[in-house]
């Protein structure tokens, strides 16, 4: 009896101790919020600019929720480095609104729970987020981001993220890219009415959105789609390839990860199924050209993407790639570098416009962002952010692997709007 009492008392004491610690911890962090990066919402700074969270007298703080230790670590590292390079360049140039840019990076390792905690920690101190990796992460934070009016550029392109005031999908969505892919196949690879195309796709937002686009476009072109749903853990696609060859497919679309693309193309080539394969942008990474599937990839694969190849001749891209290589000589230049840098530049343009309009509060930044009808960073196509329900761009590039080029990829077709895209968007 005594022991139980005693034990209970200890538990109580431990609980009380934990509570004190917790209070102390939160107390500390709220104190930190009042520091340089904090500042009250809609309060004015000395220079007359309206400020808000993340805006100090001499600094603008941006946040990044990234993956530096999980499955997208390579991508995360590229984006973080590219955006830091952008911040350094802007700061060397005198900053924005006479303030230095600081990017606060939080790693969530592709764990939604960690990401939610990281967001709660980060949100009071930053004005906007030029990087959030992971569709499930964005999905979990949707309501918080909307409530906080935190302008956010997710590194995810599912159409389900459209229609949110504070969330901006940059470039095209997966469905629009797949419509362009089907158009590319019928236009250049001789697919005709009655043919079957395969579509191998991840379960989840990414795959299902891509499938929506391919199914619609195929119907318009009189093609049949044979779908094969896979998971991120499927890396040997032999069985999928046999199923597709049994269907007699004339081409294959794939909306999965780089590992799946390599397996699909490698196996198809070895089985004599030498048909054109078109991948969504996340399905390709430069590292693939070091796998045994490299020759088959070079011969059969194309990639549809809202962004041009990093080896593209666009002056903006060349300049960016040259400085990135100088700054990070040991890091590969992949599409993450380009999309990260592009997102940072677009964010910079929003901040500049908001400053000129007299305020840097979240509301001001969001308003400035939605007023951009023709945002062009010189890193690809111009984007229109004024309609929240529409993708910011509907123009798609067609790329192709090339082991000799920077980033192991080259442009095949310049940005163009595939026929039918407007009709598709108005019917959605």
């Amino acid at each position: 009896m005594n022991t139980t009492h005693h034990r209970r008392r200890t538990t109580g004491a431990a609980l009380a101790g934990a509570l004190v610690l917790l209070l102390a911890a939160t107390g500390c962090s709220s104190k930190a919020d009042d520091g340089d990066g904090g500042g009250d919402k809609s309060a004015g700074a000395a220079d007359g600019v309206r400020t808000g969270p993340g805006i100090g007298a001499e600094s603008i703080r941006l946040g990044a929720l990234t993956d530096l230790t999980g499955p997208y670590a390579t991508l995360g590292k590229s984006i973080v480095q590219a955006q830091q390079m952008w911040a350094d360049e802007v700061n060397a140039d005198g900053g924005i609104c006479d303030r230095r840019i600081e990017i606060v990076v939080k790693d969530h390792g592709y764990d939604v729970q960690k990401a939610v905690t990281a967001y709660a920690d980060l949100a009071p101190d930053v004005v906007a987020m030029p990087q959030v990796i992971g569709s499930p992460v964005v999905a979990a934070l949707l309501d918080d981001i909307e409530r906080d009016e935190m302008l956010t550029f997710p590194q995810a392109w599912a159409a389900s993220l459209l229609g949110k005031e504070a969330i901006q999908v940059l470039g095209t969505t997966y469905d629009v890219d797949m419509i362009a892919a089907v158009d590319f196949l019928t236009r250049t690879k001789g697919l005709k009415k009655g043919d079957t195309i395969g579509h191998v796709y991840f379960e989840g937002d990414y795959g299902s959105n891509a499938l929506e686009g391919s199914t619609w476009a195929a119907e318009q072109a009189g093609l049949k789609v044979a779908g094969q749903k896979i998971q991120a853990t499927d890396t040997d696609l032999s069985a999928q390839v046999s199923a597709l060859s049994k269907e007699g497919v004339k081409a294959v679309l794939i909306s999965a990860g780089p590992a799946q693309t390599a397996s699909l193309v490698g196996v198809a080539a070895s089985r004599g199924l030498r048909v054109p394969v078109v991948s969504s942008a996340p399905g390709y990474a430069p590292q693939l050209m070091e796998t045994p599937a490299a020759p088959a990839l070079a011969a059969m694969l194309h990639v549809v993407s809202a962004a041009p190849a990093v080896s593209s001749e666009l002056p903006g891209v060349r300049r960016m790639v040259a400085s990135y290589k100088k700054e990070f000589p040991d890091s590969p230049v992949d599409s993450g570098v380009l999309s990260g840098y592009n997102a940072a530049q677009l964010m910079g343009a929003d901040l500049k416009a908001a400053c000129e309009a007299g305020g840097l509060s979240r509301e001001d930044v969001l308003k400035a962002h939605r007023a951009q009808k023709n945002a062009d960073t010189g890193l690809g196509t111009a984007q229109n952010f004024s309609d929240v329900d529409r993708p910011a761009s509907v123009e798609t590039y067609v790329l192709k692997p090339d082991a000799k080029a920077v980033g192991n990829v080259v442009n095949v077709e310049d940005a163009h709007t595939a026929p039918g895209v407007e009709e598709y968007l108005s019917g959605r």
Binding site: P71, T235, L237, P292
Partner: protein
């Protein structure tokens, strides 16, 4: 018909690789009564070593070193961590939980090292294929079948004809009696763990070889499909593990290969199929295909 043969051959190759993993599960379970949840990480560990060493040592050298190191690691984990917990059925349960901890630690570190990379293991088969009549099959797959058959044959011989094998079987039958007969349980156990580690490292090569694009952080997860194989085979029966692995490999290949015909079952059924088969088998034979019949007294 070609498609069918394609799928069957693919299924046998997959089953052969699963058998290497499942045999590891079974050997460990027989010797120590522990279900090794860290098996996937051990496999990834072996694969990772082969991947980072093959540039310097060549494929054969790297593989040999990886197999030995993984065997040593598995043996050491058992000798210095698990065996401290004791040798009876109750502590085996505790040790099973401990393997989950080991798995988390190993996997976290390996994931950190591998990151988003696809590592090539430098195997000699590359993307070469062989035509067998109407069927085209990757050389790495044929190699998987041949190597697995030889290695598994060797392991069975080990069970049958060596004193270690005899001790292992004795220990699996009755720990106390075996111990009284002079079987050194600690050594037999550690030996079993070493063997399982070596088999896992070998399996990693074939899981990462050609039809798959290379070793990645999730390769260890694929190995968990060998888990239903071991269970439906009867968990304590090496022959059962072999049969179970082939059954699971074939099921997976056929279900995915005929996905469009099996549309009623919903898409992505291939991932569930191994477990569905396991449940079906256990419904009919609760102790598994080759499991020991429980002594039931009335």
């Amino acid at each position: 018909m070609t498609v069918f043969l394609d799928n069957v051959l693919g299924g046998i190759a997959l089953g052969a690789v699963y058998a290497l993993v499942a045999l590891g599960f079974v050997v460990i379970f027989k010797a120590s009564g522990v279900l090794n949840f860290a098996h996937g990480s051990l496999l990834l560990f072996g694969g990772y070593l082969t991947a980072v060493l093959h540039d310097d040592l060549g494929f054969a050298g790297a593989l040999a070193l990886a197999v030995l190191t993984t065997a040593a690691l598995a043996g050491a984990l058992d000798r210095f961590l698990l065996q401290r917990g004791g040798q009876d059925a109750h502590s085996a349960h505790v040790q099973t939980i401990v393997t989950i901890g080991i798995d988390i630690v190993l996997l976290t570190d390996l994931s950190r090292r591998i990151g988003g990379d696809l590592l090539s293991l430098g195997d000699p088969w590359g993307d070469a294929v062989t035509d067998l009549g109407p069927v085209t099959v990757a050389d790495s797959r044929l190699a998987a079948i041949v190597v697995s058959a030889v290695v598994i044959g060797g392991v069975f011989a080990l069970f049958r004809f060596t004193s270690w094998g005899l001790s292992l079987r004795a220990a699996a039958e009755d720990l106390e009696a075996a111990s009284l007969m002079g079987v050194r349980l600690g050594r037999v156990r550690a030996g079993a763990w070493c063997l399982a580690g070596a088999l896992a490292a070998l399996a990693a090569v074939f899981l990462a070889a050609f039809p798959a694009p290379g070793l990645e952080r999730s390769t260890g997860l694929i190995a968990l499909n060998a888990f239903p194989a071991a269970i439906l085979g009867g968990l304590a029966s090496p022959t059962g593990a072999l049969a179970g692995s082939l059954l699971i490999g074939l099921t997976e290949a056929l279900v995915v290969g005929y996905q469009s015909e099996l549309h009623v079952l919903g898409e992505g059924f291939g991932d569930v199929a191994p477990y569905a088969v396991m449940l079906l088998v256990l419904l009919v034979r609760p102790t598994g295909l080759f499991g020991a019949k429980g002594a039931a007294r009335v």
